[in-house]
Subunit: 374 residues, 2 copies
């Protein structure tokens, strides 16, 4: 089967690019002397995760309990569930933890820690936990400068029902950066906040085995991760228009795209109507902080080459409008012709598809099915 | 089962509200003397569609060929596929059309019209078509003031291979309105553009059986649809935070919400971390044109009552941050407690779930599974 035979909109995974991205990040982690525990939420497929852990220690990171169960069933046995766990999910998490080598849970609040400990005690099990730390993103995590945070770590480490693995953060504010220099500043902050907190904890007698960090932008630029033990980037498997715009990758590295068909032509407004809308590309606003005109992704020819001057200017559920800055020649892009769009955020766009067409060049070589739900 | 037993994030459909919304729109159509052909893309379920067509003629509107096939298999036999059809989808569309009473296709370009006619001729079939008209939204559709548009309609009507049903539009620009008066202006424009175009076509000898219009906002306020034969609102089944903000409904009418759990508390920034992110609520920017602080939905207590002063201020893949303008008292919203969020755009949020928990009050009375894909 060839790309031209696919019904649109279709999710395309460029296997050559994905393999290159996986190898490059693996080499990056080796050079930096850290273990790579890739986040698999970007693609949610066994096949891509297996490429990411090739040559690595085998651990992965997931964002939902459904992903944890899916990857456990697929043979992955060392999984970090990197969202603070809800108490009502603990029974299922503990059941899963009992079936694999290790399921690491995250807590950032004493009440959550108490709930995890109670669950472990009642099951006569030991549950692995990380303390989630806020390194400046201000989404989740404890403030490492507060005494309560060190006390919470000490409490986790002291519990006979818990295996305290260490501290974990995600510098998600790296996505707001404007270029590689900017990202380097965030990457240094992510590392320093964590290694300094680990140092204070160790000085207070708390054993901190793991210092886990990672976002795709910070890992793309990091040159010294002394004191860090593990990194958890995820988006780098696919990359996307945002990562290219902020300097984490080149457009050529983007391994995920959405194939669409031209279903309307409006030369007077220099616009094409495409049959992939918000349910194929997602409404992620993208790198508007570096490119206010970014629209909803990078428009490419069917073969994958970016089309200069084209933008996806609006999205509704099943329609997108792409506009050209230069005009729309009469012979260009007839009804029925195909384009590819590199979405702003591949994690959100990929999750909208129940299957991916895996391609090498023009050939469809496989079909992968992502995990879904919670 | 009760709502409290659901794993979060969970999609909740309030059956009482949905039934009220369906009855009200049916009465609205009857009062206005038009047929109601509800758009089912908002929920994509057989069960909700059956409520919407109760007491109506039975026709529905869909946004993908996958939905058309799903609803045809569920017993719906009069379906309008309301996105301009891609030539490569015509073989499947024609095959489906042959199995049900009627599948109406949309065209807005001579090349698409030629492709539909060729498909019908080669199959020795007659395919039903509408001419899609742009009434001011400027997404899809022909400009009704241009001579080419009337010529295209005449060509469709003259073909022995096509059953030209009439003209169809969607006043999607009603979503940009700021209140009921504003919507009334768009509703009058939607009606007038279409009835005047129908008049010109008929004067030129073109038989125009159907004049089909409709968006949820314009139908919520319309008081005179003389000359219109059919309306196709869809969102009204669920409504959402946007519809409430622009005046199409009250917050009480919103039948779709996302149940989430508090998994983090940050009193110093007056924020709660919720376990439903962009993959549960969608990144739709919502009614920012009427409420720049709208965030990503209306935050409600677990029972459904809106919580004044709360906003969903940021979304990542599986996390949301809700912030209170008033502060976060120590005893309020502990870890593990539940909230509901009314998403900005229920169509996009509902499509993220593989099942809906159908509730009456606190009881889960059913589970519905939406169609998916293309």
């Amino acid at each position: 089967m060839r790309i031209a035979d696919l019904r649109t909109p279709a999710a395309l995974v460029d296997l050559d690019a994905l393999e290159r991205n996986a190898v490059r990040m693996g080499a990056n982690a080796a050079r930096l002397g850290v273990r790579l525990r890739p986040h698999v939420k970007t693609h949610k497929t066994l096949e891509a995760a297996r490429l990411q852990v090739r040559g690595q220690f085998g651990g992965i990171t997931v964002s939902t309990l459904a992903e944890a169960a899916f990857f456990a069933a697929g043979g992955f046995s060392d999984i970090t569930y990197a969202v603070p766990v809800a108490p009502a999910k603990l029974a299922d998490a503990a059941e899963l933890a009992g079936r694999i080598e290790r399921l690491n849970l995250l807590v950032d609040h004493p009440d959550a820690a108490a709930a995890v400990e109670t669950c472990a005690r009642e099951r006569r099990a030991v549950l692995s936990v990380f303390l989630k730390v806020d390194c400046g993103y201000h989404r989740a995590g404890v403030d490492p400068t507060r005494a309560e945070s060190a006390a919470l770590a000490a409490g986790l480490a002291a519990s006979p029902h818990l295996d305290f693995r260490g501290i974990l953060t995600h510098a998600g504010h790296s996505y707001r950066c404007r270029g590689a220099d900017d990202i380097r500043t965030v990457a240094a902050q992510e590392r320093d906040v964590m290694t300094q907190f680990a140092g204070r904890l160790r000085a207070a007698g708390v054993r901190v085995e793991e210092v886990s960090i990672g976002s795709t932008p910070t890992l793309a630029v990091a040159d010294d991760l002394s004191g860090v033990t593990e990194v958890r980037p995820g988006n780098y498997a696919f990359f996307d228009a945002t990562q290219a715009a902020i300097g984490s990758c080149a457009l050529d590295d983007v391994a995920f795209s959405v194939l669409v068909t031209v279903i309307g032509r409006y030369p007077e407004r220099r616009e094409l109507l495409l049959d992939g809308g918000a349910l194929a590309l997602s409404r992620d606003p993208g790198p508007a902080h570096v490119d206010p005109e970014c629209g909803y992704g990078v428009v490419c020819a069917a073969g994958g080459a970016p089309l200069p001057g084209w933008r996806v200017v609006s999205l509704s559920q099943e329609h997108a409008l792409a506009r050209s800055a230069q005009g729309l020649p009469a012979a260009a892009f007839p009804i029925g012709s195909r384009l590819r769009v590199l979405p702003n955020h591949s994690c959100l766009a990929a999750a909208l598809f129940e299957r991916y067409a895996v391609v090498r060049g023009d050939l469809v070589v496989d079909e992968w099915r992502p995990a879904r739900g919670w």
